[in-house]
């Protein structure tokens, strides 16, 4: 009880300053916390946009062209032509990119699968399982995913499996380039597939995402198997993942240089588009951060000055405690505790104000809206900012008084205070 009175009592006419310091801190920290919560929410939105857009990926695609496809061997349907990628990309040309980026090679093509009751158009993707797993999203329903060294093995989405009438361990034929059939054994059934940069959907084929204009399912085999089906190692498309965002422009330049004599190969990047999109966003974040910083500086200076007045007035208590045999640390402890209590109370009130009065969602205007709605969030950084502001106010408030008390003898301190 005595300690509580030592901490909170004896402020006399300076009680107003202590209360004012708490109120100023509460308002200032509320602004800072509110701004930082928006900043943190916006950073999360940016990160999400970056994960979704993947501006670090540069896409290399071959010309999209029509090719002749055979009709089923039984029946009377005529041959037809269907648009597919041409396999124009030589993997050897992409080899130099290995130093600065990861090359995710693909062969994507269409096949007619003929079985007892008819035939089915189906997209077949030759992929490098380990690399593709990192940029596309696959979730397995049953079985296992492909391995790089798999031969004549396939995983496919549930809809395609159902259409083909196969399950784990079953097999189905795929016509190879040499006009022979290759039997693929099903090793896994996919629950969901979200292929990064899939080809356009041009043919009626099983599609887990109805009405999607892009291919959302099909048969996935290892690149080794697809080369056997295709009869050639050239790629239809490839994704070049830069090691960092800053490397993207130079990666694009290098790719353009590599394929400058290949009119059928196209290079597409989202880097510039992404940064145009986030430019205003980052400027707005900068504005909020600036507001936070300026508010922090002003509030810290003002509140610490108010606390300093309180401390200066409590030198009498410090002197009396010292004379009675309290160590310097214990003599100053009530002052530090008062500052901490005032500032902490201000910080808690500030957090409650920011949490209750702040918007649950923050809509960015115009271009920035493309990045989605920002949800202000309270995280470790915001908490750390609150703690740092609170501690700084207390320290800046008490340091001048503490230094003054340390430099002067206790007798001088007592006489200065009229003791």
């Amino acid at each position: 009880m005595i300690w509580i009175k030592l901490i909170f009592g004896g402020t006399g006419r300076r009680s107003f300053e202590a209360i004012a310091a708490g109120v100023v801190l509460a308002i200032a920290i509320a602004i800072v916390v509110g701004s930082l919560m928006v900043v943190e929410g916006a950073r999360a939105a940016l990160s999400q946009a970056e994960r979704d857009d993947r501006p670090d990926i540069v896409r290399v695609t071959s010309r999209f062209n029509r090719a002749l496809f055979e009709t089923p061997r039984s029946g009377t349907l005529p041959p037809m032509t269907l648009p597919v990628y041409e396999p124009l990309i030589d993997p050897a040309q992409l080899a130099p990119m290995g130093n600065r980026a990861t090359v995710v090679a693909r062969q994507s093509f269409l096949r007619n699968v003929v079985f007892d009751e008819g035939f089915l158009n189906i997209y077949v993707f030759g992929i490098e399982p380990d690399l593709e797993w990192r940029i596309s999203k696959f979730s397995l329903s049953r079985g296992r995913f492909l391995r790089n060294d798999d031969r004549d093995a396939a995983v496919l989405d549930q809809l395609s499996a159902h259409a083909l009438g196969v399950d784990i361990g079953g097999s189905f034929p795929i016509r190879k380039a040499d006009d022979q059939d290759l039997s693929l054994t099903v090793v896994g059934i996919l629950e969901t597939v979200a292929l990064r940069d899939p080809p356009p959907r041009t043919v009626e084929a099983p599609s887990p995402i109805a009405d999607s204009s892009f291919v959302s399912g099909g048969v996935f085999v290892s690149l080794r198997t697809s080369e056997a089906i295709f009869g050639r190692p050239t790629l239809t498309d490839a994704l070049i993942v830069a090691r960092s965002l800053r490397d993207v422009p130079s990666v694009v330049d290098q790719l353009q240089e590599i394929f400058r004599l290949e009119p059928g190969v196209f290079i597409a990047e989202r880097y510039n588009q992404f940064f145009r999109k986030v430019h205003d966003f980052t400027l707005t974040l900068g504005l909020f951060t600036g507001i936070s910083a300026a508010t922090t500086l002003l509030a810290v200076a003002f509140a610490s000055n108010l606390l300093h007045d309180v401390y200066a007035d409590r030198r009498r208590q410090f002197g009396v405690l010292t004379v009675l045999g309290f160590s310097a640390t214990w003599s100053l402890a009530p002052d530090v505790a008062l500052g901490l209590a005032t500032a902490s109370l201000g910080a808690i009130v500030a957090y409650l104000m920011a949490a209750m009065l702040g918007p649950k969602q923050f809509a960015m205007p115009s271009l920035m809206a493309d990045l989605g709605v920002v949800e202000p969030r309270f995280d470790g950084l915001v908490f750390a900012a609150m703690v740092i502001i609170t501690a700084t106010v207390v320290v800046l408030g008490i340091v001048p008084t503490a230094l003054q008390l340390r430099r002067a003898s206790i007798a001088r301190t007592l006489s200065d205070d009229g003791l």
């Binding site: 009175k5 030592l6 006399g12 009498r316 004379v323 160590s327 310097a328 214990w330 007798a411």
Partner: protein, 224 residues
């Protein structure tokens, strides 16, 4: 009364810098006080009385000389050791009482016991009763008269049963009647408990109560 010196000051000098001027507060003061002795220290304003008390209480340091209290050299104690020394061995009574206004009389008496982490509430109550304030232990300083506040300050000075009590003009803010009572109480309490008392005062009523009178003039000591 023990005849061996309890407090020894050997050629103690102290000067203050006041702007560009150096003021010699004490000059080559040599002094011996026996244990249990009641010493009256007087002299004109600015003669160094308070400075001498501050040095003995280790609230300040002398430029030269040695100060010994009991078997402890207190000339250049660290802040921590000085705090411990004051807490265990010295009780101080000020002219302005210096009670903490937010605490009750009882809590003010308990205050010196906090550094020892041993709050002897019964002892504090008995001390307040001994100065005639047993019924007012729950009152705050603002609810007490000047004389009552000084009686609380005396009880506080005796809280840790110190060997030495230093009183700096304890009756300076009191009327004659209260001054006489405080002087009787202070000297009586110290004599009763065998404490050594150094009393800085202009009050003539203490002349009969003190064993020794010391006069300070311009920083130098004259024993009378």
């Amino acid at each position: 009364m023990n005849q061996s010196p309890f407090i020894v000051l050997q050629s103690v000098s102290k000067a203050y810098r006041r702007g560009a001027t150096i003021v010699k507060a004490l000059h080559e003061v040599t002094l011996e006080i026996r244990k249990g002795e009641l010493v009256r220290l007087y002299g004109p304003s600015g003669s160094g009385k308070t400075t001498l008390l501050n040095l003995i209480a280790a609230l300040d340091y002398p430029e030269q000389g040695e100060i010994t209290v009991g078997d402890q050299n207190v000339t250049r104690l660290s802040r921590a050791d000085a705090a411990l020394y004051r807490n265990e061995r010295v009780g101080i009574v000020f002219q302005a009482y210096n009670l903490l206004p937010q605490l009750t009389a009882l809590e003010n008496v308990l205050l010196p016991m906090i550094p020892k982490a041993r709050l002897e509430r019964q002892r504090a109550v008995r001390l307040l009763e001994s100065v005639g304030l047993g019924s007012r232990s729950g009152h705050r300083p603002t609810q007490l008269s000047g004389g009552e506040q000084q009686r609380v300050a005396i009880a506080r000075a005796l809280a840790n049963d110190p060997d030495l009590v230093l009183a700096d003009e304890p009756t300076g803010n009191l009327d004659d009647e209260n001054a006489l009572m405080i002087m009787d109480l202070l000297c009586g309490s110290c004599r009763e408990r065998g404490k050594t008392l150094i009393l800085v005062t202009h009050d003539r009523s203490s002349v009969q109560l003190a064993d020794t009178a010391l006069e300070l003039r311009a920083g130098s000591l004259t024993k009378t």
